[in-house]
Symmetry: C2
Subunit: 229 residues, 2 copies
Amino acid sequence: MPNGENPKKTIAVIGGTGKEGGGLALRWAYAGYPIIIGSRSAEKAEQAAAQVNELLGKQAALGMDNPSAARQAELIVVSVPYAAHQDTLNAIKAEVTGKVVVDVTVPIQPPNFSTVHLPEGRTAAEEARALLGEGVRLVSAFQNVSAVHLKDLNHQVNCDVLVTGDDAEAKQEVIALAEAAGMHGIDAGPLVNAIVAESLTPMLVGINRRYKVKSAGIRITDLDGQGHD
Amino acid sequence: MPNGENPKKTIAVIGGTGKEGGGLALRWAYAGYPIIIGSRSAEKAEQAAAQVNELLGKQAALGMDNPSAARQAELIVVSVPYAAHQDTLNAIKAEVTGKVVVDVTVPIQPPNFSTVHLPEGRTAAEEARALLGEGVRLVSAFQNVSAVHLKDLNHQVNCDVLVTGDDAEAKQEVIALAEAAGMHGIDAGPLVNAIVAESLTPMLVGINRRYKVKSAGIRITDLDGQGHD
């Protein structure tokens, strides 16, 4: 719940009707963040918000079209299929100046979901920076979190969140968002390092298939500095 | 020790005088693989081999210049600084046709060791493929293993090995090499996915610095398919 000292920012989850965005929205709503689910269709966004509210038994989420969601929120999370990435960013661009924008997009090229594909050698994060400009506090994160277990609030997600960006304060906010969703957020360096998380996702999709599992993830090891197993 | 049914291949570790290559060479020698340490300088290679033999108390390693090492081995591991990658591959090219070549190289651009840098958007693995041609059974692996603990044979290295390549049998051989060195090798997909391991290394270097640790690594989680922590 928000408290007087440190009220929680309102989060817009653009693409919050999808599995990944919807799962994150639910977890942040559960953690007490006011949530606005964004979609191209305001009606679908409202339906997704109603589901979140019903699951949590409280009024925690609203649904709106993407530009309205971005306008009324203080922190914007973009979780859309890569094919919709550019159009979505263009739709919210006028509403996000000065705000923290978290890009979750992975540049997968259907139907090949398990091979890394970086169009023109650039990450989705770099494309977002070029499109949104320097006035936005851009952070890249959450690409590797399997959507499979996000909606089970009792499930401890077995995946670290690699957080990259060039704005140190914004990165810390997003690391806190990872913790609020029950995961460990790791400062993984500058935005250019988003290539790691964006390329890990198709690799994990392939590992899921080859090892017949559903939610392979990653952990960063030895962060305690002890060097033991 | 080699046994009659499945004699272990002789491994050349090109760049085996370095910390990473030397550590891997020691572990494979310990596991019973005949080792040839390669270096531009045959003398330095002989010294490094003598050290391995002294540490293990047996005659397990020889030292030679790189082309001789590649010629006399059946499986070749290339662990050199990126600046020497192209020259090294050219030096051994004539000796590796039909053999499994494991590229460990990470395209770091000194002095910035903690930022991903892929020259012309290509991985070192893809550069190796272009340079060596299709007659070589190229595999990419071991980039993320911190050299810090490799020479401590009792140390359980806390890092999985992402193994990529387009030759399924060669990949299985390299996964077995990871196991022989005390690590878990994972089939991480086609060679193009080497971008994951190559970009993870500078990210881990940055994490080491930011979190004041020495040997951050990675694990792939949930491979048991249970989806629990």
